[in-house]
Symmetry: C2
Subunit: 387 residues, 2 copies
């Protein structure tokens, strides 16, 4: 096991009908900005519940809607302007990972001396102050509700950059699985894949005798595999949605990644596919991961065998056959959720490979993966394996 | 899954040679009291390392040694007197669960208006302020390094009471597995059992479709079973000791207990055995748990079958046979570590049953377990099953 620090101060308030607890979670004298995405927060009644809970106390409450999937710097800077001009001092994200990531950027940018895009360019290392904020999660997927990172996209340049800073943990996150009943099944499928790949990025590397981290990661993967059919087919199955929500949170709250090597190449390559072709984040992960596992199978041999055995019960055949079977099961899992694993499904071909490679180079993504051995040549092999 | 709140703000600093980080973890201007137990902290050099790390900065540093296993109110109140008279403002526990539990009591008692034993009597609910404190863990077992609870014993009355309050999370805990190399093997065995039973108290109840919590609990149990022989036999096997340390912490930091029913009857009965007969805490758990599982097998049927299958790979036989096998494996696991599961091993018989029952009644422990159905009659059956 590697040395590590683990510190996650976010308070989780989990369960049915928990939105009302905002009345005590948000300071009584706060000047609050509620940030949300599209019309669904209004339509489902969640925003109304939030407004009701915040109406108690001496709070000033304003709203900022329209944060898009893959939140853009351009949109978020309008929220920053509102925070500054109205002297707001507490942010409340109501939505999924995009709204929460965007809120983190606003929390840091509002107090940043200088051009806030520098926060993204420096990966968050230059954040020295941030507004306090909480979240009401409506879409289980990214884990942003219990970590300190986010991703922001500059539309002008198609740059999608991630940032992270200990000041950007939510003070609290309200996780009400009932708020996911109205999600489109495609978003549920995306959430399952997102949580799955967050886990594999911290697990499918090389063994360091971190037995608990391995068991926990496998537990998350087993749970996702087990609940996937029901999660997609039965929108109002509370128990299944609760398991999805808590699993997705635990997949990226720092716990399973503590003391182990991490990969994240699938995410870095996937980000470029989203920035260039507007493919949903989770869907880019499904495109890249099976191809990456195939190309990196020697480096990941030990963990791929363990993964095959413990997650997919693959115990027969030679090592190579078992690894091939584990990758095939992974691909089939994604496809079974209606999520393609081939670029051709998006009418993308060799030209996309070249375009992604150009962007990876432009963003300095030339030594990815747990061994830093995924250079542009290997990213090419991975992308071509995904054609 | 039940509704829950999860909030654990303790910073974990894990790994080899991490004690030196105290120089930045403890405030530079603090007036520190180092609390420790017996001579081992001095002999192993850990105290010297702690002193060196704290010598940097403007700190005042005092020490209080002699906190005994099952820390006593009488001893701890001497530390409280020192804190008050010397106006100390930061506590640093160096030791195992007893020292950390004791430090938590001192942290609350030093600022308590009234007779501090009331803190134990009220289970911590009356704690409104507490001194900040950190820990350097030298004995993996109780999980106290990452939770807000403790147990304190009043020698005068043989009362062993637990307390808990959100103000009693350590600010940080330094977990250096290298500091466990010098532990006697009996203490390592105790630690394995303690972590095991902490896990079963939150897992072997009844199913609530909390799939991740189940998988995580099973992962902890599997890890303990897997590492146990090596942990006892090879004191300086860093990887094994690291797995033991992190497993024991995660077994009682609130994570696996979030959203699920909890039992804790084994602990409550065990506490009386320690208070009456001075049997090590973990050893009392090994006495009670197999007997309790046997008596409660109907109430715990679903989980016992799952436990047998997932932790012990028991898949053959009728349900009753599989449950019996799972309990037998549990008993054999403890005995294999040299830890008895029968009161007779301590030359205790029916008189001990009566004495424990008297104490349980005196302490109001008359409706224990996840169903509150373990009354004195059932505690009698459990204790008699442990004869």
């Amino acid at each position: 096991m590697k040395n590590f620090e683990f510190h996650n101060p976010t308070r989780i308030v989990f369960g049915l009908d928990t939105v009302a607890k905002l009345s005590t979670l948000v300071p009584h004298d706060a000047r609050v900005l509620i940030l949300y995405g599209g019309a669904s927060a209004e339509k489902t009644g969640t925003l109304a519940e939030v407004r009701t809970a915040l109406a108690l106390g001496q709070r000033t409450v304003q709203e900022f809607g329209g944060i898009e999937p893959n939140p853009s710097y351009e949109t978020l800077m309008r929220a920053v302007a509102q925070v500054r001009s109205e002297k707001l001092d507490f942010l409340l994200a109501v939505g999924g990972g995009s709204v929460i990531d965007g809120t983190k950027f606003v929390a840091a940018a509002a107090l940043y001396d200088g051009e806030p895009w520098e926060i993204a360019e420096r990966g968050g290392a230059n954040v020295q102050r941030a507004l306090p904020f909480g979240t009401v999660l409506t879409l289980p997927a990214t884990g942003s509700e219990m970590n300190s990172g986010g991703v922001v996209t500059k539309k002008a340049t198609h740059a999608k950059l991630s940032f992270r800073n200990p000041l950007l943990y939510p003070q609290f996150s309200v996780l009400d699985p009932g708020k996911t009943f109205t999600l489109p099944s495609t978003q549920v499928a995306n959430g399952l894949v997102d949580a799955f790949v967050h886990t594999t990025e911290q697990y499918l590397t090389y063994p360091v005798q971190a037995k608990v981290q391995d068991r926990f990661a496998e537990g998350l993967l087993q749970t996702l595999v087990e609940i996937a059919p029901q999660a997609v087919a039965s929108p109002d199955d509370y128990a299944t949605r609760a398991n999805l929500m808590w699993t997705a949170t635990l997949a990226l709250n720092g716990l399973i990644g503590a003391g182990v090597p991490q990969d994240w190449a699938t995410h870095m390559i996937g980000h470029e596919l989203t920035a260039l072709y507007d493919i949903d984040h989770a869907r880019t992960l499904a495109l890249v991961l099976p191809a990456l596992l195939d190309v990196q199978r020697e480096q990941k041999r030990g963990k791929l065998l363990q993964y095959g055995e413990r997650v997919w019960n693959i115990t027969q055949g030679s090592d190579d056959e078992r690894i091939a079977a584990a990758i095939a099961r992974t691909r089939a899992f994604f496809e079974g959720l209606g999520i393609p694993t081939r670029l051709s499904a998006y009418q993308l071909g060799q030209e996309a490979v070249e375009a992604v490679l150009t962007q990876l180079e432009a963003h300095g993504m030339t030594s990815l993966g747990e061994h830093r051995d995924i250079d542009l040549a290997r990213s090419r092999r991975i992308l071509e394996a995904a054609l």
